[in-house]
């Protein structure tokens, strides 16, 4: 067992997280949308557990329900049926205001198109979640600059998004997702707009800086190049999780090696 772990450190990491508490627990979650009189069932009974300290990826073809699932997990969409708890809290029992506050304090977001405010500098963009949570402007900017320093952009705090490369913008987005110390970070296609090398740099950053034993990462992706960074991959199809790949770096091979770089 020890030799396997030494051979595949990712497997050792899964073993480490296995004993920890759950960040996300979903059971029998369904979600449907009505469009043009037709009901589309985006989630058809999802069972998903993500542990603290774990980097989970949701993969699958377009329309399989990945984005709907992270939206439910992040409290952006209400589920129709089933149970879903994030750090023991059930969004279904919260008022809209409580849900918004919980989301603002507990969840960090990294979006596919970065969604940085073009008129704000990098530091100001990173400070946004703190400002939303009522932190004073000066303190928020100070914390934002420290966080930018952690993601390697300490020299670009005053740059506007248009003055940054795609990779740098995504690093700003990651700093923004972490600055208020959320316990769950949800990433939607964080590398799809980036080239291979930049994508791997971003993933290393997420893995090494954003992930710790009291935090969980859920990443929705189509990008097979980054599968090796995951602790577990949940394959989805037609609104269901159809397979769970543990130790993906071992099964993927060479690309997974990047995960430990």
């Amino acid at each position: 067992m020890t030799s396997i772990m030494n051979e595949h450190p990712q497997a050792a990491r899964i073993h480490e997280t296995a004993g920890r508490g759950l960040a996300i627990h979903c059971s029998g979650v369904t979600k449907g949308f009505t469009a043009g009189g037709n009901t589309i069932r985006a989630l058809r009974g999802i069972d998903l557990d993500v542990r603290l300290g774990e980097l989970a990826m949701l993969v699958g073809p377009s329309g399989c329900g990945k984005t709907t699932l992270i939206s439910v997990v992040a409290g952006i969409l209400d589920r129709d049926e089933g149970e879903c708890r994030v750090f023991g809290q059930d969004f279904a029992t919260m008022s809209a205001r409580q849900k918004t506050r919980f989301r603002g304090q507990t969840v960090g977001f990294v979006f596919q198109q970065f969604n940085l405010l073009p008129a704000l500098t990098a530091a100001q963009n990173v400070a946004v979640p703190l400002l939303i949570n009522g932190v004073a402007h000066a303190a928020a900017i100070k914390a934002a600059k420290e966080m930018l320093d952690r993601v390697g952009l300490g020299e670009r705090t005053e740059s506007l998004p248009k003055q940054l490369s795609g990779g740098q913008q995504q690093r700003v987005a990651i700093a923004r997702a972490m600055v208020h110390r959320p316990r769950l970070i949800v990433c939607d296609e964080p590398t799809s707009a980036l080239d291979h090398e930049t994508g791997h740099t971003v993933m290393r950053l997420l893995k090494n800086v954003a992930l710790d034993e009291d935090r969980a990462l859920v990443i929705v992706t189509h990008d097979a190049r980054i599968f090796g960074f995951a602790d577990r991959i949940f394959k989805m199809d037609d609104g269901r999780i159809v397979d769970v790949v543990r130790n993906p770096s071992a099964s993927i091979g060479a690309s997974g090696g990047d995960a430990h770089a």
């Binding site: 984005t67 952006i76 989301r103 977001f109 198109q113 008129a119 979640p129 400002l131 939303i132 402007h137």
Partner: protein, 384 residues
């Protein structure tokens, strides 16, 4: 969040300036046109604006407005004087007479004849000379703007020049000497105003059976003005008005019987429509462009009310800026025309009205954007 809202607003400079421009245009049109409208309406009663001594104006019962002069019997002032509660009453003539100008031209002037003994009802502000100089033979007083624009005379060197004290002017074939230059509130009509004594005005004007236009009266101290007015009406069959009443009666007549308020109203309405159209459309586009950003903020924990407050702050900022620039341009316009026929006072009431309309313009312009913000789903941010 205010900081984010303001940076979002000013970050898109073209739209920001477009919205401010729309509001500015609206404020400019509204404040400018309403000021001119109020000024013109005010001018309709300007004849009696300088009456400091008389508190009642007695006119024929059928008179509808200041310029609607219906001659009274020469005994009218005596009859009013005999009414209880009246301290004094003096007659006044207001008639139109043609002035002959250089080069064979003529101009119709308003000649105001003042009671010979008291000269009550004369100009309150003199630029040169004194009202008492009207007691000199053939004396008249003309307004300084009329002198500059309408009543030029030929000097000894043969060149046209502005008339001054000592010059002569021909009124209805009678030579009159200018003894003073006054500064009068501008009249509604652009005819020159010439002051003289009542007797002289009657002698210059074409002969009529009745020559008195108004009687100016003052109530005794402590007398009930309403009762005195009623007594005058009973005793003489004439109507007595306070300056304010006669002024508003005149304004009411012009509002009811001319197209002036409609014209100005249409312009004000256009100002509102232009403001709402430009500002509203640009602001809505601004919101649409930022919908994904707003969705991202909502996903990150911003409440709907926080977002609505951001939008309202943005709207307030462009509203205040547009209002300030628009009203500033209006003020600059009227400052430029001080001392001319286009001199109008920019009353605070007009500013208040403009501000209220601009608030409505902004609310209309913002409504669609706020509705969009209320409906924005944070899940939008995950859509490609």
């Amino acid at each position: 969040m205010n900081f984010i809202a303001l940076r979002m607003l000013t970050g898109d400079r073209a739209k920001y300036l477009g919205i401010v421009f729309g509001v500015m245009l609206s404020a400019l049109l509204i404040s400018h046109q309403v000021t001119i409208f109020v000024g013109l309406m005010s001018r309709t009663r300007s004849v009696f604006q300088t009456l400091d001594h008389a508190d009642l104006i007695v006119a024929d019962a059928a008179t509808e407005f200041v310029e609607d002069v219906r001659p009274l019997a020469d005994t009218a002032a005596d009859r009013v004087r005999g009414v209880g509660g009246v301290e004094w009453a003096v007659p006044m003539v207001r008639t139109t007479i043609k002035a002959r100008l250089e080069g064979g031209k003529s101009r119709t002037c308003i000649v105001v004849g003042l009671d010979d003994a008291t000269l009550i009802g004369g100009p309150s502000q003199m630029v040169e000379g004194a009202v008492e100089d009207l007691r000199l033979p053939d004396a008249v007083i003309i307004d300084h703007l009329d002198a500059q624009k309408l009543l030029s005379v030929r000097g000894a060197d043969g060149a046209l020049r502005v008339p001054g004290v000592g010059d002569w002017i021909e009124l209805n074939d009678r030579q009159c000497r200018i003894v003073g230059i006054s500064h009068n509130p501008r009249p509604f009509l652009s005819q020159p105003i010439i002051y003289t004594t009542l007797t002289r005005a009657q002698s210059i004007a074409p002969p009529e059976r009745r020559t008195i236009s108004y009687v100016l009266a003052r109530t005794q101290p402590g007398a009930d003005v309403a009762l005195v007015k009623s007594a005058i009406a009973d005793a003489t069959g004439l109507n007595a008005y306070s300056r304010r009443e006669f002024g508003f009666k005149t304004i009411g007549y012009y509002i009811r019987n001319t197209g002036i308020p409609v014209n100005f109203g249409v312009t004000v309405l256009l100002g509102c429509i232009v403001g709402i159209a430009i500002s509203g459309q640009t602001f809505y586009l601004f919101i649409l462009d930022n919908l994904r950003t707003l969705a991202a903020l909502k996903a990150m924990g911003a409440s709907t009310m926080q977002l609505v407050r951001m939008v309202l702050l943005q709207a307030s900022v462009v509203g205040v800026q547009g209002f300030a620039v628009g009203v500033g341009l209006t003020a600059a316009f009227f400052v430029y025309y001080i001392g001319t026929d286009l001199e109008f006072d920019l009353h605070w009431e007009v500013l208040g009205l403009t501000a209220m309309v601009i608030v409505l313009v902004i609310l209309c312009a913002t409504a669609a954007g706020v509705a969009k913000v209320l409906r924005v789903q944070p899940a939008l941010v995950f859509r490609g």
